[in-house]
Amino acid sequence: MSDAVLSARGMRKSYLSGDRRIEVLQGVDLEVRAGESISIRGESGSGKSTLLNLLSGLDAPDAGTLQWAGGPARVELRAEFLGMVFQSFYLIPEIDARANVLMAARMRGRPGPAERARAADLLDRVGLAARARHLPAQLSGGERQRVAVARALMNFPKLILADEPTGNLDEHTGDAVIELLLALARETRTALVLVTHNPAHAKKTDRQMLLHDGVLR
């Protein structure tokens, strides 16, 4: 199992809603191998976002173990281990596209020429070389999500977690973003966990899974 980039065992999470406890995740097991792409589908409210938050270490599980690249998941490792893409793009509005991509590197230390070159290169790869100096407000939804994809790839992560990245995009734009995400992941041998409602997008991944009744199948 040396090539598992992520390994989750018996992940449980429940929320208190009023005086009722909702068991959202009831023992999820997931193993992601290097470079593989996995899609997770499930009804709204089934706990997909909750699961991704546990996998990314942003939230703590009630029970279960999480390993990143064969070792225990530690918050300090997240920035270099993980890239994240969200339904809402969460770009920083005050800085341009290139600076947003570079932000991922900046948070790990002062970006040098190598990082700047990579940011420019990634923007080129997502087809936004000409838009590098545009502010997020000057970009379309699809373009913003492509900036977010480039940002997720900035630190050479081993794994990208994408939570409904096409949820705010029209069908055509969404298809293009998914194609791009999958292509880049494959090309850079980055593993991808893609949460989606769209069966067509799910089909394009190596493995399709379903979250239902708190377990992943």
Binding site: S49, A79, Y90, I92, P93, E94, I95, D96, A99, R108
Partner: protein, 409 residues
């Protein structure tokens, strides 16, 4: 630059924005507060400093006085001139007389000065607007400009002086005739108070008018540049014979000085509230910004930002606003102080008229004296207040959990 400082600067000065409105408005409060504080303390400091200049120029930094009369003034002068730090000393006698010219009386203060020595202590030539010190002999006097104007006296006018000694003599059934003197010069010191009614007479004439014989009222002392008058006065008081006391210019006008100082502190205290209000407005705009940026703060957490770095980002914004606001305020203050006389003149012209203004307030030229310590207090105070204002928003931002922040829609 750490990412949180970079982001703090970018949030204040976004890429491509020529005029960051939010930053401008938040900084403006600080700028106005700082400018007002600097301008008012400088001008009040100017009045205080002007008073010092006036007193020191007309009586030296220190006066050695006695509750009785000083019998051997020249011996004391020579002894004082031996003291290291003292540049010169000169005896004086002072009082009030009645001056009469063409049947018109006035009651000026009179100061008798030793013509041979006074030049070492008091730069009279500087204040003379007519006549010459060389023409001053035992039968002549100098008068202040306003006194001369008020009584219609000119250079060379013959006037009569009535002294209190005449009343003393009258009690003993003796008659002393008024002393006729000539106006040998007219001076203008530039301070309402001193220019109104003032006579400078040779010491011998004053001694004669007051029946002092060879005695005087005190010795004016001029110090060498850079000597601290307060230290030297203390030193003199330890060594002078009993009955003699060294007073600094400050003690000669202690009431006046303490009033000015009190007013300065009051104004400082009141105007400081502008800075406090400016800091509060920084706090509220940063709090709004934290709420508005909740999801981005969540994202920073997701990208690996630590809560205390997120806090530093907002605290730094308070600090930067304080620094830019203070810098702008200092610039504004410098402009206002540089053009203060033009501003006053324009204000006077549009309100009461320049002449009335000058008559009523006694000035059209505002003094200004900025001290380093006042400036330092204002700068440090404004920046510290702005930085503190960033603390509460910073704490709020650090409290946000990335998961919850990202969920908030």
């Amino acid at each position: 630059m750490p990412w949180y400082l970079y982001l703090a600067l970018k949030q204040l000065f976004p890429t491509g924005r020529v005029f960051p409105f939010f930053t401008f408005m938040s900084g403006l409060g600080v700028a106005v507060g700082v400018a007002l504080l600097v301008v008012t303390t400088s001008i009040m400091g100017g009045f205080g400093h002007g008073i010092r200049g006036m007193i020191v120029d007309t009586q030296g930094e220190i006066q050695v006085v006695s509750p009785t009369l000083i019998d051997h003034p020249i011996a004391l002068v020579e002894r004082l001139e031996q003291v290291p730090g003292i540049a010169g000393a000169t005896p004086f006698a002072r009082g009030v007389v009645m001056l009469q010219y063409h049947n018109k009386p006035d009651f000026p203060e009179i100061q008798g000065v030793d013509l041979a020595r006074v030049g070492k202590v008091i730069p009279f030539e500087r204040y003379l607007v007519a006549g010459s010190l060389d023409d001053l002999d035992d039968d002549s006097i100098l008068v202040s400009a306003q006194l001369a104007r008020g009584m219609g006296m000119q250079l060379g006018s013959e006037v009569e002086i009535y002294s209190p000694l005449m009343l003393e003599k009258m009690k003993q059934d003796e008659i002393l005739l008024p002393r006729g003197v000539r106006i040998a010069g007219i001076f203008e010191i530039g301070h309402q108070h001193l220019d109104r009614r003032m006579i400078i007479a040779p010491l011998r004439l004053m001694q004669e008018l007051y029946g002092l014989g060879p005695t005087v009222h005190g010795i004016s002392v001029r110090l060498k540049p850079g000597v601290d008058e307060f230290v030297l006065a203390r030193q003199l008081n330890e060594t002078l014979p009993a009955g003699l006391q060294a007073l600094t210019w400050f003690e000669s006008a202690a009431d006046f000085q303490s009033v000015i100082r009190f007013e300065k502190y009051m104004v400082f205290f009141l105007l400081a509230f502008i800075v406090v209000v400016a800091a509060l407005s920084i706090m509220s705009s940063l709090l709004i910004s934290v709420v508005r940026k909740t999801r981005e703060i969540g994202l920073l957490g997701a990208l690996g930002g630590k809560p205390r770095q997120v806090a530093a980002c907002f605290c730094a914004q308070g600090f930067f606003l304080g620094v830019t606001g203070t810098a702008a305020g200092l610039l504004l203050a410098w402009l206002v102080i540089s053009f203060r006389n033009d501003i006053v003149r324009v204000l006077a012209r549009f309100t009461v008229g320049e002449d009335v203004f000058q008559q009523f307030y006694g000035f059209v030229n505002l003094p200004s004296h900025t001290t380093g310590s006042d400036l330092a207090t204002i700068i440090v105070g404004a920046i510290v207040a702005s930085t503190l204002a960033g603390l509460l928003p910073a704490w709020r931002a650090a409290q946000l959990k990335p998961v919850e922040a990202l969920r908030s829609e």
